[in-house]
């Protein structure tokens, strides 16, 4: 144990000598608790907004929950998974992997959104735009 690691010579090993302080875990944890409570309040909040259609209420529910989940995910990845204190290589890994997942979702939805089923007498696009947010 005494032959401890020397100061890292490369950027990638930056994370090795950094110890996340207890305060960080607790503060970020508090932030996560607050955001979780907000996500529990979303359905009630949307009910109080008195929107005019189910689709609008549903879409807004989805947007709010997604935004909250993304904030939580960023906090967890940056602080709990230590990525903020890592070298550029690992950060690049992360961004590329996430980018690939986003592309997979995008391409699938390009297909789904513009697919027209001969059994339906209209395409999905006017339906989509009709009640999207109001």
């Amino acid at each position: 144990m005494s032959d401890n690691v020397a100061a890292p010579v490369d950027n990638d090993a930056r994370g090795e000598t950094h110890v996340t302080p207890v305060k960080t875990y607790l503060l970020v944890g508090l932030g996560l608790v607050v955001i979780t409570i907000l996500s529990l309040l979303v359905p009630k909040t949307i009910q109080l907004l008195n929107l005019s259609s189910f689709d609008a209420a549903f879409n807004l529910t989805f947007s709010l929950q997604m935004a909250l989940a993304l904030v939580k995910a960023s906090l967890i990845i940056l602080f709990y998974m230590h990525v903020k204190f890592e070298g550029i290589t690992l950060k690049a890994f992360m961004l590329i992997a996430l980018g690939i997942v986003v592309v997979i979702f995008l391409l699938t939805f390009f297909d789904i959104l513009f697919r027209w089923n001969p059994d339906e007498n209209m395409s999905m696009i006017p339906m989509l735009l009709e009640h999207t947010f109001v």
């Binding site: 032959d3 090993a13 944890g29 608790v33 909250l68 690992l90 890994f93």
Partner: protein, 248 residues
């Protein structure tokens, strides 16, 4: 090193330092991240299914979401949140040389993961008893078919069946990951006690922590998109919720 007379305690550190040449902090860490990316693709594919069928059956998915046990789901979210903190504190105390504190935090994390699984079964068993499980004929009968007055089949309303199918598969797969995480943490306690993991060579513990953080991360997305995607009808009756299911 090779000509020492070894005693019990010393042999453990001798064995550990034999591994010294293969200890690669950067390589090990990149390895676990590559594995975590495959996990992201695994759950990502399932989330893609969820997104597509959700888009196709919004009313049915909102209806299914309203039927889940929200309080238990919320409790589970906080359980995993705290367990993420405790495993982080385990790593921090371990890096600072506090071995028994690190082990205590690991035990705490394992207990929290057991609590998570207990709550999950508290949610699932009533569903099974209500006839809601993958392949259930009662589920198909209640939601799968819509008949007109003469008994002819009008449509197969698959949305609720899809919702429950995805619910059990995704939360079930996540539960398997929780169990695996608990086993890994138990293994880490053993490795700390036998000095296979030390504050100078801690990457294995850190990697288990990263795996557990990913399990938490998946739940961060699972929870709102299954449990809290329901819509409450507005008080002034701006719209009413669509009717779901052929006959109840």
């Amino acid at each position: 090193m090779s000509d020492m007379t070894l005693q019990g305690g010393a042999s453990a550190s001798h064995a550990a330092s034999d591994h010294h040449d293969t200890y690669d902090y950067v390589g090990s860490k990149m390895g676990i991240w590559l594995f975590l990316f495959t996990e992201v693709l695994l759950f990502g594919g399932l989330f893609l299914l969820l997104a597509v069928y959700w888009f196709k059956y919004p009313e049915q998915f909102a209806y299914g979401s309203a039927q889940l046990k929200h309080s238990w789901g919320a409790v589970n979210t906080f359980v995993l949140l705290i367990s993420s903190i405790t495993i982080g504190l385990s790593l921090t105390s371990f890096k600072r040389g506090k071995l028994s504190a690190a082990q205590r935090y690991l035990v705490l994390t394992i207990l929290l993961s057991v609590l998570f699984m207990v709550i999950k079964f508290v949610e699932w068993i009533p569903k099974f008893q209500d006839g809601i499980y993958p392949g259930s004929s009662e589920l198909v009968e209640k939601y799968g078919a819509v008949h007109d007055e003469s008994g002819a089949l009008l449509q197969r309303d698959q949305g609720v069946i899809m919702f429950y199918g995805l619910y059990f598969i995704m939360t079930g797969l996540h539960g398997v990951h929780v169990i695996v995480g608990a086993i890994l943490m138990g293994w880490m306690i053993y490795q700390i006690r036998t000095q296979m993991v030390t504050p100078a060579r801690f990457v294995r513990l850190e990697n288990v922590g990263l795996y557990w953080d990913l399990v938490h991360l998946v739940w961060v997305f699972l929870f709102p998109f299954f449990y809290f995607m329901f819509v409450l009808a507005p008080p002034d009756a701006g719209f009413s919720l669509p009717a779901i299911g052929g006959h109840h």
